[in-house]
């Protein structure tokens, strides 16, 4: 059984179709790339999966369960994490606090425990702090734990966003342009980290990325979208040579030059 299954999903904004009758299967453990020219509907698809926008048609199944009409926080609690194209960090909290916030749902102590700072709450807080620091270490952010994210370079903010999304311990993680704003070296390091963390923790990844070089190295399999539909699906090698994909990207370039 697929971990994530989309059946005929359509998303529209004010009558304009962003995603049209799209079907997609993602197997547990794979790293799936999602490419396509601007406006292909990639971010809309992520928003539909995470419950931020409601599809007008179709069903979304996660681990066999219908999540089509759930609230975003309920979807997260089932095990889907995400990062944001334009990072949505808590700007007035430190990097460490951002990641700690991601651990909210894995802490069990209640309001009484919190109010009285009972031993159970203290223990959980200490454990959460350790886990958050481990994640910061994994993404080479440890020395920035006390910084406010708004003042850091965009590439670093993207990494903080990823650390925070990993803190929810997702089974499926949706990464929206995870290496934008990064230098090549930085992007390579981040990709290597993402792969390693995903393998180590058994996380399935769905990655939206413009950077084809990165995508070729990261993804097991790539799905190409154009105008809200899937136009190709295959290994990175197949996708690189696919005529429909090349046409879609060339068309975009032609538009850009027109």
């Amino acid at each position: 059984m697929s971990l994530l299954e989309l059946v005929g999903v359509s998303v529209s904004f004010g009558g304009v179709a962003a995603v049209s009758e799209l079907s997609l299967d993602i197997e547990a453990g794979e790293i799936r790339g999602l490419i396509g020219p601007n406006g292909a509907g990639k971010t809309s698809l992520i928003n539909a999966i995470t419950g931020v926008v409601r599809p007008i048609a179709g069903r979304i199944l996660f681990a066999g369960r219908d999540i089509t009409n759930l609230e975003p926080d309920a979807i997260c609690r089932l095990g889907i994490g995400r990062t944001f194209q334009h990072v949505e960090l808590f700007r007035e909290e430190t990097v460490l606090e951002n990641v700690l916030t991601g651990l909210y749902r894995h802490q069990a102590y209640g309001t009484i425990g919190a109010a009285l700072r009972l031993p159970s709450a203290r223990r959980e807080e200490a454990a959460a702090r350790d886990e958050a620091l481990t994640l910061l270490d994994a993404l080479s952010l440890r020395e920035l734990e006390g910084e406010l994210p708004g003042e850091l370079p965009f590439g670093i903010q993207k990494r903080i966003d990823m650390a925070r999304a990993l803190a929810v311990r997702p089974r499926l993680l949706l990464l929206d342009e995870p290496v934008s704003g990064m230098s090549e070296a930085e992007a390579d390091a981040t990709v290597a980290t993402a792969r390693a963390v995903a393998e180590e923790r058994g996380i399935t990844l769905l990655v939206v990325e413009h950077n084809m070089r990165v995508m070729m190295r990261l993804a097991d399999r790539i799905t190409a979208m154009h105008q809200g539909r899937v136009i190709a699906d295959g290994t990175p090698g197949q996708i690189r040579l696919d005529k429909a994909v090349i046409d879609a990207y060339l068309g975009e370039e032609a538009d850009a030059h027109a």
């Binding site: 609230e71 975003p72 909290e93 651990l103 909210y104 006390g146």
Partner: protein, 333 residues
């Protein structure tokens, strides 16, 4: 480039009890407050009691507004509900103050949840209007049920007995208020640096991102509303024995604005700010003793001035001064 801060802030949230400096400061403050009845006259004791219960209101409101980002213009109503429930349970039902006080706070918390539940989808301006409407309804309900509440003539509350001990001296009431305030401040500070405090901050800054982390905004706002209302209700219950008399004029929109002024002037989202603001502004009428009629005017001007020129309040000022390198400050040119 990035500025290297605010290690102090992290420690405050993560390891507050382990920091001897804070602990020492708190202990010293409590020690001084314990000695007050030995030195001060009953008027000054009364003023400090008012300041303490204002601290309780401010701490609760700051969790709701400063941390969770929700406007409440009806905090005075929550205080009224606590005050009237406590007073009526004592005078009419003959319950002990020790029972009536927590029940009053719980009643306020419950009403806070009752208001927070339908209002959890609203924010900003809409929430301001709903809470303003709620304030008026509570105000009218108190005024127009004189048989129960004494209406506009108010309600006298005698000094209570606690476990057979009559709180008839000023000092005994004072120590009760002080003990409850210390407990309330501790609870407020604990909540703020717990996972719930982080969820409050998350909802304020980006409800969208908070939801992506599995934090349910509706539940969290509801929690913030009931905690804040509970704190206000507790302060209301204390108010009944500190002042000995309650009437609806104490719980109108100007009281709500006063509560907001505490946290704005003190510093939004900060426990220390709540304390600074509540204490400074309770002392203000005392400083303006020679010009009483100007006191509301000064209040309004301080509120507006802080919003315009010092949005981080006294706490922000404190932090700025603490970070200054004094050796490099030239006071004399």
């Amino acid at each position: 480039m990035a500025s290297r801060v605010d290690i102090a802030a992290i420690h405050r949230r993560l390891a507050f009890p382990a920091i001897p400096k804070h602990l020492a400061l708190s202990a010293a403050l409590i020690a001084v407050l314990t000695l007050v009845p030995l030195a001060a006259g009953s008027y000054h004791i009364y003023l400090i009691e008012l300041a303490l219960l204002n601290v309780i209101v401010a701490i609760g409101l700051n969790l709701l507004t400063g941390n969770c980002g929700q406007i409440s213009l009806c905090h005075a109503s929550f205080m009224a509900i606590g005050a009237y429930t406590t007073a009526l349970l004592m005078t009419r039902a003959g319950l002990s103050y020790l029972v009536a006080l927590p029940v009053g706070a719980a009643a306020a918390a419950l009403l806070g949840a009752g208001l927070g539940f339908p209002a959890r989808r609203l924010s900003g301006l809409y929430l301001a209007l709903v809470t303003l409407g709620f304030l008026e309804i509570v105000q009218i309900a108190i005024e127009e049920s004189p048989d129960l509440t004494g209406g506009i003539r108010g309600l006298s509350v005698p000094r209570p007995h606690i476990l057979g001990f009559h709180l008839k001296s000023d000092a005994s009431v004072y120590y009760l208020v002080l003990a409850i305030t210390v407990a309330a401040v501790t609870v407020g500070a604990n909540l703020q640096r717990s996972r719930f405090g982080r969820a409050f901050d998350a909802i304020r800054q980006s409800s969208f991102a908070a939801q992506s982390l599995g934090i349910p905004p509706g539940q969290i706002k509801l929690l913030a509303f009931s905690v804040a209302a509970g704190f206000a209700g507790l302060a209301g219950g204390l108010f009944t024995i500190v002042v000995g008399f309650i009437d609806p004029t104490e719980f109108g929109i100007s009281a709500s604005l006063r509560h907001i002024t505490f946290i704005v002037v003190g510093g939004l989202g900060s426990v220390v700010g709540s304390i600074l603001g509540a204490v400074a502004l309770t002392a203000l009428p005392e400083l303006l003793r020679g010009a009483k009629e100007y006191s509301d005017l000064v209040y309004g001007a301080i509120l507006l001035g802080t919003l315009l020129f010092m949005p981080r309040g006294l706490k922000g000022l404190w932090d700025t001064l603490a970070k200054l390198d004094w050796r490099r400050v030239k006071i004399w040119p």
